[in-house]
Amino acid sequence: MGPITTAHYLALSAALLLIGTVGVLTRRNIVVILMSIELILNAVNINLIAFSAHLHQVNGQIFAIFVITDAVAEAAVGLGILIALFRNKETVLADEVNLLKW
């Protein structure tokens, strides 16, 4: 095992991003889709922190804080929408919600 470089972190971040994308595209359960979005945002954070350490600047960490703030807001509103949806349609499966589809 060689030393760990920034490229290792970038590869890990890319892999996590792809896993999250597969989750968003293929799962039917909306709760799991929201969890996959959290995975994608964490992949972004790994990338930002890796470059922050690579360039010896804290700007990347500041942006990671903003990304986490956005993730919190997204989770709160998304889960609120999910509760409203479940109250009205009695389902949490994404492909059974087709009111806007023709």
């Binding site: 293929t26 804290v58 889960l79």
Partner: protein
Amino acid sequence: MDAIFFYIFAAMVLGGGLLTITRRSAIHCAIWLIVSLMGVAGLFLMQQAEFLFAVQIVLYIGGIMVLFLFVIMLVNLDQAAKERQFNGQKWIALACVLVVGAEISYFMKKGAGAFQLAVPAAAPATEGNTEAVATVLFSQYLLPFEIASILLLVAVVGSVVMAKKRI
């Protein structure tokens, strides 16, 4: 030693992520997502981002995941767990993601020389990580910080409006 920890955390992140998107029960998905997030927190610690390590544990694992578990409790998921878990576009989605992955790895290989992915040199530790983050956050990024607080306020109001029975 660093390499061993990196591979342990990487295995936690990727294994947790894979199990998150494949498990049937939403509770199991949430627990594997917690494992994945803890791996990410460990990676933050390895990159000398101690403040973000604490934020990741407190906010993600303590905050967002509890929110998820609350919603799983409120919403009856037993019926959904019995149904088909993947939709009809799963093979085409996998193919698209593989293409994107090939593209990313190609460009990372091609661009590796451009931004010199060597071992990062040890940072000159003049002040603690939290002090450094706070100094930059409250001077250079003050306006984005305030905008983020307004965003959180809007999100609070929006989620209350969404989850309320009658406004």
